[in-house]
Every structure is written in C-alpha cells, then in structure tokens.
Amino acid sequence: MFDRRHFFLVGTTVLALSLLPAVSFAEDAKPVGGGSLSWGVETDPATLNPHLNGQDKTKLLLRNAYESLLARTADGGYVPWLATGYEISQDGKTYTFKLRNDVAFTDGQKFDAKAVVANFQQLKDPAYSTSVSAGPVSRIEELKAVDEHTISFTLKAVYAPFLDYVAGLEILSPAAFASSQIKSGGPEIAGTGPFILKRYVKGQEIQFEKNPAYAWAPSTAAHQGPAYLDQVTYRFLPESSVRTGALTSGQLDVIEGISGNDAALFKDNPDFSYQTALNTGTPYSLFLNVTWGPTQDVTVRKALIASLDIDKVLQAVYRGERTRAWGITSPIDPQFYDKSIEKSYGADAEIANGLLDEAGWKDKDAEGFRVKDGKRLTIEVVQAQATVRDQRDVLLQALQAQARQVAGIDLAINYVDAGTYTERRKTGQFGSIANSNTPTDAIDIEYHYLPIDKGGTINYSRAFAPELEQWLNEAASTLEPKKRFDIYAKLQRFAILDEAYAIPLYEPEDQVAAASHVKGISFRPFKQLPESAYDIWKSE
C-alpha cells in the first residue's frame, strides 16, 4: 500500500533533509520566491479557531497560521518546533518543555511560557469548550511556567497519549482569548505560523499572507526562513466536479478532494501532479447507537454489519480509489492496528437474515422492509449537511440500498442542519452517526470508545460497557507499546465482532492535484494530512 502512494516523506536526519528535496523535485533546480497560489478546497470551516475545529479537512488551512510545540517525523518521532526539547520524568507523570526564545505571534505578542500556559488554561475551561475540556487536558493536574521559556505539565496519572496530544496542539496568541472572534476564529486570532490569516468570507474563500518575520520552521520542513509564496487563497468549492474543472481550466493552481472518477484525469498526466495519503485515526465508520431505537439490540447491529458488502460498494462509489477499513483505527497506524480482523466479517446475507428472524423482525411490509409489532426496522442515520464530503452521501445511499435489498433494513438517511445535528447528538436520539477522525496514538480510540462523560467526546455508538473504560485506562497508563497493542486489539474484536458498535467503511485519504508549475506540495510526516503552503513555490 505504501509503495503505491507518493508520500513526500521528510526525514529527521540532516542526511534525509539534504537528499529528499533533491530526489522529489529533481526536475527543478532552485525554489523561487513570490507569487500567489489559489487552492480549491472542499470544506468550509465550521470555525477558524484550531482548538475548537474538529474538521480534519480544515487543518490544511489553519496549519498555515498556527503551530505547535513539536513536529512529528515519518516514523512517529518528535522534533523541535516551538519547543526546543522536552523531558519526561521518571514516574512518567511530568512533562517539561523548553521553548524557543526567538518566536513572536503575528499580532506582536511574545511567545513564552506564559502564552502556552494561557492556552492550556483556556482549554481546561468548560466554558471555552465542554468537549475539549473533557478530553486529554482533563488529565493535567498541574500546569506551570517554570521560567520564561520553560513549561511543565504534571498529570494525575500516567497517560501514554499525552505527548502526542500536547505536541500537536496549536498555540494561539494570548491576546486572542480576549477577542470577540475567539469562538469563530478569524484574523484577530494570531498564531506563529509562516502565513497570517488576512481575510475569510464564508462560503467563498480564505486568504493568507506571508509572515516575513518567520524563522522557526521545524527540521521536517524542506527549507528555513519565510515562506516562498506571498499569498495563498483557498477557495471553498464543495462540488468535486467544479474543483476538477477549475484546475483543468487553469483557474486554480491546486485542488484537494478528487473523486474516484476524476483521479484518472490527473494520474500520469505530465501537466499535473497527483498525490494521495491515507489518513491516520479512526476510519470512516457507521457508529450504531446502543441506547436508542432498534440498534439497542446487538443482534440487529450484527445483522446490519453482515448485510453489507462494503468492498462492492466502495468499488462502485470510488472506482477502486479508496482503501477498505476493517477495524477501529487506520490500517496505516504502525503502532496499534491489529490486522487480524481483516476479512473476518460482513457480506453474508444468510447470517444477516437469520439474525433478524431470530430477533423477531420476521414479517415484511409492502415495501419489503422488515417489521416487528407493526413497526418498521428503521435505523436513522443522522448526517450534518455541512460535513458531507468525499461523496459520502453517495456511499451512504449505496449502503442504504444494500441494507434494504439484502436484509430489509431501512437505513433512513436524514440530512440535518448543524444545530439539529448537535441537538440530536447531545440527546442521543439517532440510530447511527457516521464519522471519522484523525488523532494518533490511540487518542482516536479513546474519543470513540470511552464513556461520553469521561472523555468519549465523539462516542457516537454511546457504548458504555465497563470493559471499554477499563481497557482504555489500562492501555493509557502504560508506556509499553506491546502491552498497549494487545489491549487495543482486544478492544477492536470486542467493539466490532462481539458488540458491533461500529461498521468500519473506508479509510479517509487526502488527494491533492496540482498544475505542474506548482512545486513542493507534500503531506505532513506521520500525520499525513496535506502540509501547509510553507514549502510550496511556483516555477512560473
């Protein structure tokens, strides 16, 4: 799988740094500065505050302006960024970071230990965000600025994913927290990035300008100093065919989110470059609500899983351009993905129908749906209109058709506005919610499988089995990778095979196509989301 995809892997060593740009862009000698870039993107951000935004597709935009303490290397290691180094105490509970002393926020504020403390204090405040404050920051017992450029976190107990979390968190200017834009994000929320957020017009575009003072790129970047481009504009174009057309007609330099049908246009075409990378974290999965409607019955959940032939559906919808997912975390997760679950379930009409008969859904109504006590076997999939991307509406429709034809299950897909979605999520009145997310180091698993009030902020199956919490805490409190792997593997079998909390569908990926004059497009090492425009330059 790896060899088929064109990653721009940036190594950690000086050797790798000197070799890779030369190998990847051998055809062009030297990057040139200047110019502006226009990039068509699929998703309009729900908020521009990187702390509060959960849309993976938005990270690409926000990464231009906001940075974090450490950067990741391709093999999962950590290298200095805004912090020059870190130390973990013997007992595994105290993390100390040394910060750079030459960094300034783009609004003129100083980047120092106080600024970082202000960020984490804000995150711990439920008034800022209930779900964020219940997440990994809730593990922090004490947070202090040791001196002007040193900060330390002491945890209540050993929490293995903490470094991953704290290293990746975007640090905002302390002045931002007094701004009226703090919830929505915007130009008043300054970061330290190579670009400055200048303008945002909802539904149209977001514009960034070069930060001329930028001088603190991590060693994973391909160059140092200010960015090459003077200006980057991302235009929001929700239709994949429109993005494709805008690139092929020369109206845009780069687009992301390429439909399976359009991929062939750019692949092996000398006028364009085409790159893809699988996401990390939880695959796009249908989470089945165990506290509401027919999916409360584990037999119904298992029947639904058995009724779907997901390989066939993916082939039809994405023309073979997406990767099937089987488990609770990404198949590219080098640490915690147990692939023994692959091909162990699904696509069995006989099992599906047998289970439903057994559960009492024996009769069928005029439209061919199963009924029990006069009620139709309806599983309501609630989907926020705003987060539909990557033809997932089509994917859900294909599953809907299959569930109906194979097992007489009515997968009712209900598109709702953001307010209704939040409300239904909160009250738990939904049959299923489909979701994916990209955190690494098993934080994605915690988000989806811890109890809702104990850090399972997106536990859409609303699973509350005591084993889950016990196992997850056990895994997080050890720093031994092998032990953690075994626990997550056990949890994966339990969640998918025994309890059918979720139906993994496919592993989201990013696709980026660009005109051939655009150079230096890459994916983030390890995290694999599209990298910011920092290293990008135009050859004409």
Binding site: E239, S240, S241, T244, S259, N261, D262, D309, K312, V313, Q315, A316, V317, Q391, D393, V394, Q397, A398, Q400, A401, Q402, R404, Q405, I413, Y415
Partner: protein
C-alpha cells in the same frame, strides 16, 4: 363597450373544428403522443418498464446504454430508464398538483375580489401584489426554508407562488363580466345573487384558467425540477428528475447518460406541454396561427 365583449364570448369554435386544426399539425400530434406516454409512465410505470428504480447493484454501476439497460445505469448501478420512467410520477405530479392548487386558490381569490370590490378587493389585490413582487422561484425557496424540504412542501410552495397569476386574470374577467349586458339583464329577471354568480359569472370568469394552467404547467415543472436539484424536493433515493440531475452532476464527464436522460425527459415534457398549451390558447381565442 359591453356589447363588444359579449361578442367574444359567443365566438369560441366548436370542438370538432378544434380537433381538425390539431390534427393538421405534426408538432401537436407528436406532443400529444409524448404526453400520453408520460401520462402512462406517471400512472402505470410498471407498464413501461419492469425494472425496479430503487434496485442498486454496485457491480453494475455506470454502465453505458445497452439492450439490457436502455439508458445505462447510474453511479449506484440502478437502471436509469426505469428511474426516468418512475420519475415522471414525481416530476409531473408535483407540477400538476402545484398548478391545481394555484388555479383553485387563485380563481377563488380573483372571483371574490372581482365581485366584492371595495375594501376586500383592495386587500386581496395588494396581497397579490406583495406575493407577485417576489420572483416565483425565490418565493418558493423562502417558503421551503421555513417548512423544510419534501414533496408536499415543494408542491405547496410552488402552488402559493403561482396564485397571483390566476387570481389577477379571474379578477379582471369577473369585473368585465359582472358589468356585461347579459349579467345586467339576468339581474333584471330577479335571479338570486348566488345563482347569478354560479350560472352566469363563474363559468366565463374562469374560462381562461385551464389554458393558463396548461401554459403555466411547463414552467412549474421546470421550477419543481430546479428546486429538487437544489435538494428542496423529494429526497434520495426517490427518482425525481431534478434530483436525478443533481445526483448526476459529478458524473457528467465520465457517465453522461446518468444526467442526460432525466434532462431530456424534462425538456421534452415541457416543450410538449407548451406546444399544446399554445395551440389551445390560439384555438380558444379563435385565431389562426399568427
């Protein structure tokens, strides 16, 4: 003045002559035949196709037109021909129902305004002015944003948006007829007011409504398809023509047949309805083709 209006009301041609006028025109004949086909698809789609419009078969997705699938298959492997056929039910019935609502409500309001005069007329007329000051489509869009998308809401929204067209014509006719010689004469016979209205005014006041409705039907079908395209009408997997176009828009480059056939269906239906409506109007007005 009133005498000349009376003339026009005794003038309409007799049905037999209208029929021969129709038959001499191939456009009219073809349109009629096509609409007959659409009507069959609307009420008895199973006579036209045996395929299930909802049956998805991922293995057979995006197949070009062939003897097995006359119009090809769509992105989920559903038969496009059967979807176009079953789609007639939604697209045509939404248009017809919306126009029927507009015609009923509009005629009633027009008649009331035309007969009542005075303050009631003022009130109704100003109300119609307000409604018609918004473009039909925009008004329907606003209404749906309150009621939420769906087939019934779409019908109501389009119906309300078309009310003024009917109300205005009926009101004007009612005015003229109420003052005409034969009504005046009928009054002198001492006929009761309701008899006068039902027997002498109503039939003439609404004489143009069917023609207006036929002409308006074409544009209403287009508007319905347009709103469905925007996701305001029937929801997937219902095979409404506008919704089918919306689903097909990302596949035009690789599988033109998914979007072209519902587009052709909308176009032909609207053209056919327009041809018949125009002809009917000319025949009614007692004129030959201009």
């Amino acid at each position: 003045m009133s005498a000349s209006f009376d003339q026009s009301y005794v003038a309409p041609r007799r049905p037999r002559r209208i029929f021969t006028a129709f038959a001499s025109r191939p456009g009219v004949v073809l349109s009629s035949l096509f609409l007959l086909f659409v009507a069959t698809a609307t009420f008895w789609p199973q006579l036209v196709t045996t395929d299930n419009p909802l049956l998805a078969d991922p293995i057979k997705s995006q197949l070009p037109p062939s003897p097995d699938h006359w119009f090809g298959t769509d992105h989920l492997g559903r038969d496009v021909f059967s979807r176009v056929v079953y789609g007639a039910r939604y697209s045509v019935l939404i248009g017809v129902s919306a126009i029927a609502i507009a015609a009923l409500v509009g005629s009633f309001l027009g008649l009331v305004a035309g007969l009542a005069r005075g303050i009631i007329d003022e009130f109704i007329s100003r109300f119609l002015d307000v409604v018609s000051s918004f473009p039909d489509l925009l008004l329907a869009l606003v209404l749906i944003s309150f009621t939420g998308p769906g087939t019934v809401n779409l019908i109501l929204a389009l119906g309300v948006a078309s009310v003024p067209r009917f109300a205005r014509v009926v009101r004007a006719q009612t005015f003229v007829i109420a003052k005409s010689g034969y009504v005046e004469q009928a009054k002198t016979f001492g006929l009761a007011r309701h008899t006068l209205i039902i027997r002498h005014i109503l039939p003439h006041a609404i004489a143009q409504v069917p023609i207006l409705a036929t002409i308006g039907l074409g544009s209403t079908i287009i508007q319905a398809a347009g709103l469905s395209f925007l996701g305001m009408g029937p929801q997937p997997p219902i095979p409404e023509w506008g919704a089918m176009l919306a689903e097909a828009r990302n596949y035009l480059r690789v599988a033109w047949w998914i979007g072209v056939w519902p587009g052709v269906a909308i176009t032909l239906t609207v053209i056919a309805i327009s041809i018949l409506g125009k002809r009917w109007q000319l025949a009614f007005e007692g004129r030959r083709q201009a």
